[in-house]
Amino acid sequence: MTTPALVCDELFFAYPDGQRALRGLSLVVQRGERVAVLGPNGAGKSTLALHLNGILEPQHGSVTVSGLRVAEKNLREIRRRVGVVFQDPDDMLFMPTVQQDVAFGPVNLGLPEAEVAERVVRALDMVGMRAYANRPPHHLSFGQRKRVAAAAVLSMDPEILVLDEPSSNLDPRSRREFGEILRGLDLTMLLITHDIPYAFQLCDRAVILDQGTLCADGDIRDVLADQALLRAHALELPAGFTLAALDR
């Protein structure tokens, strides 16, 4: 078997206020898998995301990305390999123009300017936003900003894409379009979401995170079919939604 894209081994993490966000979380993701991370509010989902690129350091246990351990000396390479798309695009788009924002990561990687320019074009093409390169972010719609936020990470040529609530606040069309963009990417993906139909459309595998640990892990169809399991972790399928209705 090849090296897994991501290995989380027995992660423990408590915030300074004593809140224990992760309690022995272990997870292995193979290259090319798209995994939905489900769980109630406060389950530790966002804390997990911040561990994957070394923003937070596990107090116990380890995270390994394609064989490279997340540690102080590897952070630059880790942050290239793991792209995190935050929930609110306004948190990610801090530069005066779209193009400069998408260039931010490649510039930090120390790439030569020609290479940066090429990557910016490529990343904006991937999300269909090339025509907006010179616009300031506040001239874009929320859905467009979300796509640019994804491009801002894709320009770093990541191996793993971590998305925190990718569909939140998007209108139905933007939500669908963003999903199509994600589906077209040949990347390992972690989708942290409450949007179960969205997860079902995009992912093959689902894990349920609750109280800082994994409570379920398997084929997304099996996980979502287990009503008792979902109920136990404050998850529900939307009214009227059946897995058969979205059969792929």
């Binding site: 995190v84 306004d90 948190d91 931010f104 990561g105 510039v107 930090n108 506040h138 770093m156």
Partner: protein, 243 residues
């Protein structure tokens, strides 16, 4: 609260395409900041020199096709300062002359900055400052300020709607309490946003970068040099003759 509209105004005006808009941002920065400095150091009562500075700025505004009402609205930012200056005649000898001079200097300074910011799109302005070797960190901070002014502006608007939706219609000063709480809430939200933005920056490998990546290089053309020479020449002559 026309703040939001004001910003839209300045962006639309700055996106114009006239001789002044097309000038290299560096010569505009040097020329107009320079003019302001010269104006500030011009002696009290040198009316001819002040008239000359005003004419130069007026001419630039006309060539740049800045709408008159727009320029006047922007100039109003100096009003609080002018009110303070209006006290001078009562407290110092020859205060009227002094007050008028200060008022004129303030107006010229503000007008110069209005011309600069209304003929140069903000990213270009940052680019110009960076190429003039302004400290990178400072340019970055200003870039952030500009970007988040809009985000926070939208938040303010949403909070105002939320207050009104619950029947808040302040008419008396003692009803201003809710306003104070809004400001406090805004402060906390901005603080939290700042933290999230920082995380997002670190996530993309931030190590002290630039706010002007991938901007096409600035090239001085003859017209830029001519503009700088003419502006400096006129201003220096005016300043010298006045003394």
């Amino acid at each position: 609260m026309s703040g939001g509209h004001g910003h839209v105004g300045i962006e639309a005006v700055a996106a114009g395409d006239t001789l002044v808009h097309r000038l290299d941002p560096r010569v505009k920065i040097i020329g107009l900041v320079g003019l302001t400095i010269v104006a500030v150091t011009t002696p009290v009562g040198a009316w001819a020199a002040f008239a000359c500075y005003g004419l130069v700025l007026g001419a630039l505004s006309v060539v740049a096709r800045l709408p008159g009402a727009y320029v006047l609205r922007r100039l109003m930012i100096a009003i609080p300062f002018l009110l303070a200056v209006a006290l001078l005649p009562f407290v110092v000898p020859d205060g009227v002359r002094l007050a008028l001079t200060l008022a004129v200097k303030a107006t010229i300074g503000v007008l110069a900055m209005v011309v600069l910011s209304s003929t140069t799109p903000f990213p270009q302005l940052l680019h110009g400052f960076e190429r003039l070797k302004a400290p990178g960190m400072l340019v970055m901070i200003v870039a952030f300020m500009w970007r988040y002014l809009y985000v926070i502006g939208e938040e303010v608007a949403r909070m105002r709607v939320a207050r009104q939706a619950r029947g808040y219609q302040p008419r008396w000063i003692w009803q201003a309490n809710a306003l104070g709480q809004t400001i406090a809430a805004l402060f906390i939200r901005s603080l939290e946003r700042g933290e999230r933005v920082y995380l997002a920056m670190v996530s993309r490998g931030y190590r002290g970068g630039t706010a002007t990546a991938l901007m096409p290089p600035l090239v001085l053309r003859p017209v830029d040099v001519a503009f700088a020479a003419a502006l400096v020449g006129i201003v220096i002559v005016a300043r010298t003759v006045a003394v």
